[in-house]
Symmetry: C2
Subunit: 822 residues, 2 copies
Amino acid sequence: MSELGPALPWVVRETGLSGEALGTSALRQVESVFALANGHIGMRGNLDEGTPCGMPGTYLNSFYEERDLEYPEAGYGFPESTETIVDAPNGKLIVLTVDDERFDIRAGTVRHHERRLDLRAGTLRRDVEWVSSSGAAVRISSIRVVSFPHPAVAAIRYEVEALNRPVRIRIDSDLLANEQQPDQSDDPRASAVLDAPLEPLAHSSDLLLHRTRRSGMEVASAVAHVGPPLSTSSEPDRIRAVVSTTLAPGVPLRLDKFLAYAWGMPGPVDKAAADQRDAPVVDEAGGGRYEGRPAVSRGAGNVRDASSTSAVDNGVTRPDGGSGSVVDKALADRDEAVRLGFDALLARQREYLDEFWETADVELDGDPEVQQGVRFALFHVLQAGAQAGPHPIAAKGLTGNGYDGHVLWDTETFVLPVLTYTHPACVGLALRWRHATLDAARERARELRLAGAAYPWRTIGGAECSGYWPAGTAALHVNADIAAAVLRYVAATGDEKFLREAGLEILVETARLWSRIIHTDDEGVAHIDGVTGPDEYTALADDNVFTNLMAQLNLLGAAEAAERLAAVDVTADEISEWRSVARRLFIPYASRREVHEQHSGFTRLQEWDFDGTKDDDYPLMLNFPYLDLYRRQVVKQADLVLAMMLRGDAFSPEEKRRNFVYYEARTVRDSSLSAPAQAVLAAETGHLDLAYDYAAEAALLDLRSGGEASGDGLHIAACAGTWIALVQGFGGLRDHGGHLSFAPRLPRRVPRLSFCLRWRESRLRVTVTPTEVTYEVSGADLTFEHYGTPVTVAAGERTTIALEPVEYRPAPPSPRAPERRT
Amino acid sequence: MSELGPALPWVVRETGLSGEALGTSALRQVESVFALANGHIGMRGNLDEGTPCGMPGTYLNSFYEERDLEYPEAGYGFPESTETIVDAPNGKLIVLTVDDERFDIRAGTVRHHERRLDLRAGTLRRDVEWVSSSGAAVRISSIRVVSFPHPAVAAIRYEVEALNRPVRIRIDSDLLANEQQPDQSDDPRASAVLDAPLEPLAHSSDLLLHRTRRSGMEVASAVAHVGPPLSTSSEPDRIRAVVSTTLAPGVPLRLDKFLAYAWGMPGPVDKAAADQRDAPVVDEAGGGRYEGRPAVSRGAGNVRDASSTSAVDNGVTRPDGGSGSVVDKALADRDEAVRLGFDALLARQREYLDEFWETADVELDGDPEVQQGVRFALFHVLQAGAQAGPHPIAAKGLTGNGYDGHVLWDTETFVLPVLTYTHPACVGLALRWRHATLDAARERARELRLAGAAYPWRTIGGAECSGYWPAGTAALHVNADIAAAVLRYVAATGDEKFLREAGLEILVETARLWSRIIHTDDEGVAHIDGVTGPDEYTALADDNVFTNLMAQLNLLGAAEAAERLAAVDVTADEISEWRSVARRLFIPYASRREVHEQHSGFTRLQEWDFDGTKDDDYPLMLNFPYLDLYRRQVVKQADLVLAMMLRGDAFSPEEKRRNFVYYEARTVRDSSLSAPAQAVLAAETGHLDLAYDYAAEAALLDLRSGGEASGDGLHIAACAGTWIALVQGFGGLRDHGGHLSFAPRLPRRVPRLSFCLRWRESRLRVTVTPTEVTYEVSGADLTFEHYGTPVTVAAGERTTIALEPVEYRPAPPSPRAPERRT
């Protein structure tokens, strides 16, 4: 990991980049940490000059390529192809040459190198002082922004200043497609596709147009520079703008680079509209000086046919005569960004974030690292989800290509709950994306010989992309997870329009899936057999408690919504059947051990030999076959414990206490999704110090614990889990049945925790100390429960309630204890 | 299917080959039916002239290539490569040209076309009368033999006779490597490997030397012709011998072609020995006439370097200076075959088969098709197993490349029992092959974090080649199946030398596997969790009864053998532990339904919707996902029923009756391994007509029912299952605990069944009629049980015992009833 220095409240600061930090693995990791995104476009934290580099990365949400999946022994219903996010043209590249020596932090002398991810400004800032081999000292700084309010736009301000003598400088500012990728896979076919995924269609000095070879998606990448005079050239995969000049000491050169992307499946041909597009406004003000109003360079405005190099009219830019819509959109967005200017983009970015933090910020006293960690985590949750809709929020957000850029159940289970309470606008959009893929899910259900809709375990565009079905397609709980997110969002926001237009259909179709898969035995007990729950060290189990309880929620929620909205295509019999089977679902319980069974028979299985397991045997899946894992009481990640969090209403406090201790001793936490739920249930069952250790683990996972796992992207769900661990753990937030409740309790080392959330028209701030909690409401009166007692606080009022002293129980034994937070 | 005509007792006759029978699928099927093999080498029943062709095929046992396995989502322990049988150089090709027109049954006029697979002669004979487009009538006949007593040798006698006028003929007799294969796989990599799997190393006019590109196995293919003068040429992938002459009507031309193959991993260089090899004896007798002692042509005796085409000394034949051992062996075997001559090969073939049939033949009166079918089946079982050792007996024998030429549990469970009682010599060798692969199995056990030996689910050379582990590696029962075959073979033959040298180590190492995987619960009950039994529509189940009972057999058998032979590396504690866990293994029983559970919880699962399943939905695995199959009470193939056959001692007669009816209603028989066990248990539980229908299904599966499934090779285990169905079903043969017992009972339509078996020094003939059974013993006195009563028959004596009339029960309802045998 690079040198992050002491934790600052609102800034993640890297104070040096040398030595081990220049290794590929370390670079990949810090590039993820410093990634900027807005849910729509994402840019990894690569250095401006492109090298050294762990992995380049410019991602556009849902811009993907397809490739075949091959199986040694295929089976019915195994997906035949998959979707893989591809690297979009890289506009981050700005290469500086000083007196003919290329600036590289591995050469010359780096006097100072600092990067700052500013969580309130929403920028990545870099400041360097570098002395070339020949002794020329320069100050280089850049500010990078991926705009929240202007989701198609990113911009970079690049400044160079000579410090000790006049220097000749040259700046090559590139927009580069089909950049070479590092090897990521042993599969030669995967690399073959990903090596040059983009087919060039057209290029000009300010726009590249490409198409993915198989999925046929088009991307238009537009660039403009504002600043000193430039010479610009283009080829099919590159636009290059070059500044050559001599800098006098003390007179900095400033170059503002504006990027805009538009992408999608090619639309219908609308040549007339394209022809009528206004000619781009080229603002020719400014000249050879660097101060004052700068020149704007958007190139010559001609787009060349990539295959022939003949210049064609810019109005219709594609040689095949298709629609110019993505071209139009990219150019228009680019022009708007140029019109606003870099400073305005920064100002709007801060304005957007100020509003976000007003609700989302969590203040935690007594532990600056965790304080920084939770803000860093929330910032990345926002970056993943802010402008994602109507596209998915992927497991890695737009910070890397891990999981091929797929979205999994993480989003609905961890990310959307946090956004529901902090930034609800984007949740409706994210769920509308699920609604938009309902046809694919219905088709998949038909293929699986089921009913209703079967959402994919992994996808970008809506098709199932899971290549190992026992831990993929068999995890049918993803359908209930989506339904639960719908129910939570509607309950928290009252967004009935969404419910009518999208949510209801999701609820109904997933309920139909459950209704089909649930089997009632001879004694009238209902079962869900042969599916996989959250714990991927168990597969194809009968009556997984998590799945059954979430399906129950799904069925009852669908019934209620269909009835209330009088859904036309749902019969009363169907509703009645949903309620009936939901109430008869079997919840296995081991009477002798007095704990719930993760699935039927789980507690009878062989115990894992923890004494015989070495530290480097973890994660177990890399060192033991599923054959061994599946048949034992070893839990990869919270499963029954997660059920107790999401369906806490289905367990008594005593059951929670016993279950938590039992499963804690068997959970190895080989997934980053585990710690947050363990934190919440540890807190609820009185193991507050343990809960805090888990919360801290989640908060610091990507930022400080590092590990290679962050190299291909951050763990966005674990980021969201940080909020969950703190707010649901120590604030005791629950929303069972759409009712808000709290049960605050702090661990010993936290003197104060304050968080805020939105609930319909209200905004509630909760501030917890060891002795009391204060509920402060604005917007509208709000009623909720405090430790089971209804409390109503009027808008503009606050209520303070004393807290009982918490009994500090010793932590239960765990085979894989989190690091003790000291 | 081609026109097989009425069933003859000892011959499978095809009376025509035209119309639909010329389609690729039909051709593939009949090529499998007419395949000749001896366990060592195999030749599909392709036409001499090579076209039309379903799939060419010349297979050498364990001559395979390796290729990578790719997984969309790999897991620990998934095999990274697999072994695939490859097509060896094809020596079957004899192309005839008549007056410049190439003989092809699709051209000209076919007056007569008959092929006869003679089960006593062990030959494939073909007789054709053909009139060319220009009116030249010729009679063509060929006799093909793959020698049982000379396992490296095959030979073809080819005759042509002009019928109506003198004709110019030309015969091109080829030995052809890297013949083009039909597309067999959607996997482009598989085809890439298989398209030209053999790298030519050297060639001469009588020998080709090749090497597989990755597995590095060498094959030497030698050829010689005896008959008219020939001109011979060679190139890296082909030897061609050409006869050109004019035939007068009534004077047939006869060409005898001798082939010998030797193959294996290249041995140590032994250049001196190779140099000293005697120059081949070239017998130059004979001349231009066709009668009398013919000329022998083995080519010029020079082997050319394939890469340079320069002739090199024949003594050391490989350009890399390696050992000439496979070359020497092939040439020596070829020479020996030539020395013997074709007629002697035929005579020795018949002699060998006479001895086989003396014990193996099953006489069944009243149903000529089934009579023919069981002999056909036994013939192919012999062809698969006769000279297989020390190589495996593959699931398709050497009749096709299905299952990539892999051996599975079929061999030990179905094929070896039949051979144990009919042709035991080859069983010891087949099991010695398992012993030879123990190191690979031990290594696999280590990889799986188990103990002892874990035999592969699919393999050729000993490495696990299964690419879908829930229905592959998880089927650990294969280890007990192998152990059971060892115990049966030793009990039936008393081969203590085998037991000491090979069998004991197999028993001990497999017992160690079970001892490691078995888990004892808090109440002292032992379990085998998360494994897959024979029914592949259920996977990763707990306490599969078949697995548990076979593991029990394995553990107790290993304990007994280790104790009796005082195995040095097995402790008394280990033996005691094996016995202890074996006796405590859980056998799930559903009290309310009063049946055993195939695995724990099976009878609680959802029933399959047979009413909603269409005929073309079978086999279900091609139309339903495992997700749907695994969670239901639907059985692909006999599993509990097979347990009741192999471990009948573990069930009471009443349990068998109830279990059979229960599972019969849930078994869809989507595997050819199912019918034999269903036949046996149907017979034992009194459903004799149903039993006969299943027996007939097994008997006619490859021969008459056809279906595309036989196109890539015959179902050798189902062939063996035919004997099992008849002898174990209607003879009631059992060998539980190494004790021979009978309980004869005939179905209504069979007036007489007679079969024979070997037991140690004895030979026992059992002849059953509806009213009595006669036991006739030769060799040594024999004691066995007849319906539970001990009977001793002295050598040379016979005993006749009256049979109780059988109660004919109605057959239980079955969702997939076998065709009623009328």
